[in-house]
Symmetry: C3
Subunit: 331 residues, 3 copies
């Protein structure tokens, strides 16, 4: 692999280069860690003060900070430096490839009736069951199970340990015992979906569980049976979505958030970390329900009072009435 | 596989059929999605109003709604439609089998000293360590580890990625460093237990970790060392039970619930989602501890006040005293 | 394997034996379960009253309870019985080995460019990608993925299903769609680290994700990209640490705790179960933020009042003002 110059980068990704195009770039780095062989970026204007100190060989910046950046040294000016940086990581990765050789690794167990696109990559020790379909350019990294009848679209990336199409969790009761409801649906995953390590997406009970195009799931997520996740929605680790809920498009769910079953959440809803959505959300916006942390001793006092909260409310009401009565007695 | 008629279903599962027994059923569906080739069910009386609109070829109903159902079209009348539906999914699945061919998949790594019942099914890429025992008709789907000395009963279903018998998390301290306590117990799992994808059940430190008959665990659950889970208890995704706690029979723990260590929870306890049980529970019933979500701005205000809650309580007490003193001064 | 006597144990691990050194010990047990062939320990003085009833063949005790212990029967006296017990489990395990035959299991998929120390053990169905390095005496139990370029130190134990070096979760936005930021860093794990089943440690975006020496992670933990965890810090199941946060040394995070992104937590911080650390912590100590559980009906009332909390605070302030005004009116 040949060396990379600033001119190579701008030729591939655009942007206005100010500085020496023949300068060699050896790696990408954060602004504060960068040395003269590194290219860095400045996205958040809050960190503009760090610019002058950076040793980076080149910094990707927005037009608003071009003057300051040029004073420091080489820079690439582009409207959205963070997006440019993302494209740069992709271009860099393509020149240093690490995953996704097309074809099926000999250690993978792929059913004869599964349909795997020739450009898809099924990594070591994956299981692809009967009738599953894997689309073009999709990468199953390693140790992944795709259940029978499930579908994965094109250009998806699935990380190790993910389980697509285990049975949903459904039981009827008979005299205190659980009677299994066989899960007869599948999982359908759109294009450009990324699924994190050890994340689980259960098959539907009757209908399919569906992830639409562009959904991004972090590690250790649980998507229960019959859930539908709208396009370009992203979820962080430990998010759990209970059965038959529908999440809109362009939503974000932060780490540890939960959604109860049979709910409907509209497009553009943002759920804060460890917040449980326990009823449908009909209005876009940010929603939060998190006990704020404090020093343990403080928490002990406040949490004890929390158990009295309804009583305190009644005492306030009583005080208000008594005070009003008292006031009216006075001249 | 031959076609299925309503008469076939009633012959296998009972119930009173009202309608044409020769009608062909092609699939099972939810009431609102069903077409004339589908059989659906009505379990919750709240949805009775949906009955008339349903296009289902046949609906499974309770005696209370028989009249309305017969007016609409074919129906099967049975005391518990949801249970009937569960049995129907099982019968349907048996006719369209997808898992559990008896025997050991050639890609599985099974120790020579493990005892696997000939009717059990060990799926692709499973690991069964020394001395482990797997009972009759139990299914290990794929990519599961059963640790040395662990026991799984009969008719169990274990989903991909589950880890039975990893070391419990136990350490002593020596001058700020952790000294491992080797985990010398095993895991013992009863009959008719189902274990979800990527769920972990740790081996005991000295005694065994035990799941009794009929326990149902969803995906991504953590059962720590020496925990005992009583018969027919069910847990949803992300439930964590800490070390040495005992959970009674016929309990349910909703998603994200937690149980601290060394506690005792009696039979028939129901724990709400994301609720942490931090002391033993001696009385059956439902228990909850969840911060209710709201719009982020509202939450900010209320959460800030929560940190003042104990102070607010003191201020209310002061107000009460002062008001009483004032009252007593008046004629 | 020969039988074990009390004299063998003291010869190997020290301590003052009071009793018959030729007595044979068949197993280790908890004080309350022990029979005459078992050795038990008494660590917490709170349980001293259980000593007299124990049927244990020998009890490991601290000097403070030596007199009571000798009255009962054989005992080993040592300053820290729990630590002695930990060492005893290790010594016992070495005589009854269950894991860690050096070498690479034939079913593992290890890249030709990976460097695995000859004393390391790579168990069944593991994946070790290009350029990864595994140090001396480290054990990968089974079904583990170590990503390209990642490093694991010496004497580490990694449990089944763990994923080291999946991509961090990083995306830029472009017109409502997510653009992947390729993760160009690695994971670096020190010596004497233990990692639980199905735990995930993501590779860094630019820099490496780092676990220092002696870190102990339970099952089902998420360590996001660029996180740094200080030496001898321990985390229980379901802990999630978001991207670019730094956790100090000698910290503990209880089950279900979370740390938001880009925070700094100093050494010696203890986070309670299900507590979310949402800003940097600069002072050691214990921190908590957990909604206390109660019977569901009580919770309903209090949680409803919680949504009014800021309003209640205003009403208290009003009451205080009005009462003061009233007081001043009186003679």
């Amino acid at each position: 692999m040949s060396t990379t110059t600033l001119a190579d980068i701008v030729a591939a990704l655009g942007g206005d280069l100010h500085g020496d195009g023949t300068a060699i770039i050896g790696h990408l780095a954060a602004l504060e860690d960068a040395d003269p062989t590194a290219i860095a970026f400045l996205s958040n204007p809050r960190y503009t003060s760090q610019l002058a100190q950076s040793q980076a060989g080149c910094v990707i910046v927005a037009p608003a900070v071009e003057a300051a950046a040029r004073e420091r040294g080489a820079c690439i000016v582009t409207p959205n430096p963070y997006l440019y940086f993302a494209r740069l990581t992709q271009w860099w990765r393509q020149r240093h490839p690490v995953r996704g050789t097309p074809g099926i690794h000999p250690s993978a167990v792929v059913d004869a009736t599964a349909q795997v696109h020739p450009t898809a990559s099924i990594g070591p020790l994956c299981v692809v069951e009967a009738g599953a379909r894997i689309g073009a350019d999709t990468v199953l990294t390693s140790r992944i199970t795709i259940g029978y009848g499930c579908t994965v679209g094109e250009r998806c990336i699935i990380h190790p340990g993910a389980v697509i199409g285990a049975d949903g969790f459904g039981f009827a009761q008979e005299q205190g015992k659980w009677v299994k409801i066989e899960q007869l649906g599948n999982v359908r995953i759109g294009n450009d979906v990324e699924i994190g390590a050890n994340t689980c997406i259960d098959r539907g009970a009757l209908n399919d569980t569906v992830l639409e195009d562009g959904v991004k799931l972090d590690n250790l997520i649980q998507i229960a049976h019959n859930v539908q996740v709208g396009a370009h929605t992203a979820m962080a680790a430990f998010v759990g979505v209970s059965g038959s809920s529908t999440i809109g498009a362009h939503c974000t769910l932060a780490g540890g958030a939960g959604v109860s079953g049979h709910l409907n959440i509209v497009d553009g809803v943002h759920v804060s970390a460890h917040t449980v959505i326990s009823r449908s959300v009909t209005k876009k916006g940010q929603y939060t329900g998190l006990y704020p942390f404090e020093e343990h001793r403080e928490w002990e006092r406040n949490a004890a009072s929390l158990r009295q909260l309804n009583t305190l409310r009644t005492r306030i009401k009583t005080l208000e009435k008594e005070l009003a009565a008292l006031s009216s007695q006075l001249p």
